[in-house]
Symmetry: C2
Subunit: 461 residues, 2 copies
Amino acid sequence: MNRKAIRELPYKIILEEHELPKNWYNMRADMPGKVAPLLDPETMEPVTTEALQKVFCTETAAQEMDEENRLIPIPEDVRHFYKMYRPSPLIHAEYLEKLLDTPAKIFYKFEGNNTSGSHKLNSAIAQAYYAKQQGLKGVTTETGAGQWGTALAMACAFYGLDCRVFMVKCSYEQKPFRREVMRTYGAEVIPSPSDTTMVGRKILREYPGTPGSLGCAVSEAVEAAMQQEKYRYVLGSVLNQVVLHQSIIGLETKAALEKYGITPDVIIGCAGGGSNLGGLIAPFAGEMLRGEKSYRLIAVEPDACPSLTRGKFVYDYCDTGRICPLAKMYTLGNGFMPSAIHSGGLRYHGMNPIVSQLYADQILEAVAVSQKEVFQAATTFARVEGILPAPESSHAICIAIREALRCKRENRAETIVFGLTGTGYFDMLSYGKYNAGHLADAPLSAQDLEKSFHTLPEKFR
Amino acid sequence: MNRKAIRELPYKIILEEHELPKNWYNMRADMPGKVAPLLDPETMEPVTTEALQKVFCTETAAQEMDEENRLIPIPEDVRHFYKMYRPSPLIHAEYLEKLLDTPAKIFYKFEGNNTSGSHKLNSAIAQAYYAKQQGLKGVTTETGAGQWGTALAMACAFYGLDCRVFMVKCSYEQKPFRREVMRTYGAEVIPSPSDTTMVGRKILREYPGTPGSLGCAVSEAVEAAMQQEKYRYVLGSVLNQVVLHQSIIGLETKAALEKYGITPDVIIGCAGGGSNLGGLIAPFAGEMLRGEKSYRLIAVEPDACPSLTRGKFVYDYCDTGRICPLAKMYTLGNGFMPSAIHSGGLRYHGMNPIVSQLYADQILEAVAVSQKEVFQAATTFARVEGILPAPESSHAICIAIREALRCKRENRAETIVFGLTGTGYFDMLSYGKYNAGHLADAPLSAQDLEKSFHTLPEKFR
């Protein structure tokens, strides 16, 4: 890219509000082979939109199934809400470049400037809007680290919807402040497993004293939504509708880069369920799918939960309780129990089906990194760029730094863009352990992986 | 103001980076009666710049004394750092207006979009810059709620300066996460009172088990700076140099309003030591001082620590240990111990001398509010405007709401601007108490006030 042009760049590229995208972008419309459909857990046949609409909101269920429409209009009301915190800044990491002494140019799209602290609000407000439009009374969901629960609580407060959040019990106890943020926004927060659902009571009977898991909390939230009239279940990642809503991240990133005539070479995102990554890479992957351009797109996952790099691309249940549909995705097995790594948002056994397909089709690369390298990158970044990143987001920083150092070795002035999905204010327990030198690496062992694959549905193992 | 114009306003007015002010504004140059000078605690004579420079950085000590220069250039390096998070947005609170059903227009200047979570970084980076320029090795300071300590830790990490923070012991224990943020930025955090200073050891001997106080932490930080070569003491509020640096808030606010042809009627800020308030009102007060315009400027303080509304305008020590200079200010007495209200940043016994003089000269109004009304306002605001405000900042929200409701009663379309100084992510213990209905009001009693006045220097009582 033009070095002179870079000089004239602002430190933060912030699009104007009227430049906020008017449509979400649906990658599936450009994918040559379609994404494998969800399967009904009872019949093992492809689910119908009607069946999905019993669990999800009518409109988002339709979005979940939509493989035809490239552009889905963002409702004006949602777009107006987005203006509270969007367009989000694309920041030129010039202090990090200087520290690394690299010829690479580094930019990051920062999604943490809102109270949920992450990109999660992008989909939460859309899902709450559709729930309100449909005349629902409330929604249920689960949350692990708490960013999704917070985002949904904010969105529901805005639309006057009830919001019931099943929070993984160990997080509920370890993160009382996250819990209180949700309560401040009027949400009901229930530690999971709870005695408020059948599946919760069953798990409590079988495993008294269990700290809970995300898979179990999903099962409880779905059951709670189906038991109550005018309630639906909403989800913060994994689903295609969520990747659709999150495409706003990539669309803004692309528009901001184009405004200054910058073409990225490498685009990097952290990957848990795939919502942020899928959203960030969407328009770039679209160009690759249409054969227009070529980029290196890189997913970064923890080596403790390496669904892309070590999982199988097969049909698996989205939840541990096996009451949700099955998706064809890279998965470690629905019974996978990740070790206690400090990136709660990346501890999911599977990966969004679109992202999975892009990886299978080699549009997307993936790499797994260790916890300690991630915190080292996070601390380095915080000290020069000011922002205290969430551990999840720091997976992307870690690989951005590696790529920038590669550019230095190879003396190449590539342009690296990464997604900084959120802030780490509620992760100081982990930072504290790192600061005290007590943070250990915990890569997934071959035995544990093999054991976990046994939880895959028998016919897909 | 023009209703049509408002329609065309963006939701957030964000100045462009090149519109970032090039100078800070020094109100003292426009004040007809000058601000009373600081007194040397040993001689009770006005301090000299030379004496101040033993404690403070050379350049900031000069700024502390400067009554002549209206505009002080912002060093280019500091201005570049500001671009990490500035210009900060001026947000049109249209959802709050709608909720209150008021003809008033409400805007707020949001300073929380940086890792320190508040406006404190504006002065921290300036003070760290001057320390670095001077060739210092490090700085010391104190922190209560932790926002200032975090901001200074960030600034010192950026310039490679040592940073030693004396954190009030009860906060150190109650806010372990704040502590870890500072450590992540490389700061040394010491619970105060500590055995690392003479004054700390003395207090520990006299009051074993004391939870500490801000006044004591100030004394320790000053002593620590003076004991070590190439160290100086820096402070996050109360001083005139800090109000000078914080004038960036008001200057941006004014520029943003003028860009859209908006003239404010009422400008509201929360007041602890006066740094945010002084900075926000600076250019508006300047116009009033020069007789050019008229506004209602309102300081909002907690009724548990009402230095402006119930204090005396006399000379008092800036610290409890009585080793710092005396300032003529509204004060409750340097030995004042506020009850345990949840706005740690507003629990200071005195008020910045410039702000004090403006209040004495009736340029500024002041009002004290109760803790419960503050949290009620905070929660209302969070649910419609999305941002979770710090309890300190919520004092301003509280009066903005009252003023908007007054406009409704009087059917007046006034324009209200308030400063939203920071976010409440580290205040969830207090929000939790409020959510659970356990938050009590604790206005300062007449007896406690009288008792505290006895700690004023004898000749000024």
